[in-house]
Amino acid sequence: MNIATYARRNLFRRKGRTILTMVAIALAVLIFSIIRTVIYEWNRGAEEAAQDRLAIRHKVSITMELPYKYIDEVRATPGVTKATWANWFGAKDPKERIPFFAGFAADQNSFFDVMDEMSVDPKVLEEWRNTPNGAILGDLIAKTFEVKPGDDVTIASDIYPGDWKFKVVGIYKPLRKTVDRNSFIFRWDYLNNSDAVPPPMKDKIGWILARIDDAAHSAQIAKSIDAKFEDHDDQTSAMSERAFQLSFMGGFTAILTAFDYASVGILLILMLVLANAIAMSVRERTHEYGVLRAIGFPPAHIVGFIVGESVLIAVIGGLIGVAMTAGLINGVMGPFLEENMSGWFPYFSTPPYVMGLAMVAAIGVGIFAGALPAYRASKLKVTDALRRLD
């Protein structure tokens, strides 16, 4: 036997209470991990954005379009090696098999050249260039629509009226985990030439993506692009792809901040649950601590017994929570979200750092939850402690 034996044995003196406390901690760790994973994955696309790519949008808002002719001026900017463009289509599935997916019209000659994390077979690209209503899909959206290359598919739009019929010419292959596998990409000229697009909306592009020769000069190149259009009616806002993605997600910042606060709130609740359980145990054992003090155990040992027990409960609960996280998020929830909500979460998995953070938080909570009852128990006079419940 050693001094830790006593702390360990105390752990299951009140089995029901200890197990319920551990379950509460495990669930709190799971919820904490889910929230932190959502925040992490939401920002991951931006964090992993290409460093040598700029995004150029209308200065006023991403919802306003730029004149088509701007692409040539961007391409002519020193430092820009290649550029492409795309328009948001507001795509939706007429059969509502999927609540949201990214559909956009893109340039068949340059889009996949600039967006090289989406790999497309050269033969498929060639076919796309020869098929005005050709579309290249992500594998997940193709699976949802139950289509394969050569099949026809019809989608609708929130922006452009009518049914839009396309021929699937191929499937792009994502080369990074953060690439959305639910995108539906078709030719910009097919949209632009359509009668469904009214004249004022013709020859307009949603945003431009430009490759640059040196990522270190991105700010300077972005500045010179904006300078080109300074005296035009439609001014631009050029930025790194990371900044572009963050601005695109800007509307969700408040939600993410709320999530952030919620994760801290979870920790506080966790601490109160554990502190309450520890305080109850200490109250029940005050007399016992008096006996230990009487036979010579110094106050520091009493603190050690109480904090040790609190940390032990927190660690066991935390480990159960982390195991649940690995099983539930990485095994069930992640694959489900990747398949059904790939537009928001192309990849959803709790990174090891979040699990580590959850464990560190659990240990920290264990220390804090045990600290006050331990301090009070250690300060109690031995004679007062012996008198309790005696």
Binding site: M1, Y6, N10, L292, A294, I295, G296, F297, P299
Partner: protein, 227 residues
């Protein structure tokens, strides 16, 4: 073994006053006490007479409001709390009325508790625990938990815990108070054996006249003064 006549407990001019709010409640009043080494003393007195307070002062659990306390050569009133804790672990063995064993530990582990504060090896601790339990006649109950034993057996384990560190003094607060007559007699016989054969000084507080008769010296305390 008998006492050698040296004074092991010497209290001089002890006063102890508790406070209820601002109201002082005097418990011990100018009390002097000499306890010879090797004696077995019983302290009796009505409830509220200050018996337990006196015992706590001798055992280094409480401090007098005034006066000097010398026990086993140490001046307790001049020691810090930390020094007192260490002193208690080396000098005093405690026997309580309600046994006060730790329910989640076995008999052997309960007895081993005070030894955890020493630098003894595991093997040496085990040896001492076995000796202490043999002295109290419970060597066959080492792995039993308190709930698996009778009250008398629990108190004998508590006595084994009190002697395992080979203390100079054993203080006992109503050691037979929670026991039936037969178990109480067994415990008193054991305490007599500790006093006579091992030379332990025993200072016992009791309400039980039968228990007090076993002691070699009987003292009476009333209203904070020894009669």
């Amino acid at each position: 073994m008998a006492g050698n006549g040296e004074t092991i407990v010497k209290l001089a001019g002890i006063n102890k006053t508790f406070y209820r709010g601002k109201e002082p409640i005097p418990v011990l009043d100018s009390l002097d006490l000499d306890v010879p080494s090797g004696s077995f003393e019983a302290l009796m007195g009505p409830s509220g007479s200050g018996k337990s307070t006196l015992l706590n002062i001798i055992a280094g659990l409480d401090r007098p409001s005034r006066g000097s306390v010398s026990v086993a050569g140490s001046q307790l009133d001049k020691m810090s709390d930390g020094e007192l804790a260490k002193w208690r672990s080396q000098t005093i063995g405690f026997v309580f009325q309600s046994f006060n064993l730790i329910p989640v530990l076995t008999a052997a582990q309960n007895v081993e508790l005070p030894l955890l504060l020493t630098g003894l090896s595991g093997a040496e601790r085990k040896k001492r625990v076995a000796t202490a339990l043999r002295i109290v006649g419970l060597e066959d109950r080492m792995d039993h938990y308190p709930r698996q034993m009778s009250g008398g057996q629990e108190q004998r384990v508590a006595i084994a815990r009190a002697i395992v560190n080979d203390p100079k003094i054993i203080v006992a607060d109503e050691p037979t108070g929670d026991l039936d007559r037969k178990s109480a007699d067994d415990v008193l016989t054991l305490m007599t054996k500790l006093n006579k054969e091992l030379g332990k000084t025993i200072f016992m507080v009791t309400h039980d006249p039968h228990a007090a008769e076993v002691a070699t010296v009987q003292r009476k305390l009333d209203k904070g003064a020894l009669l």
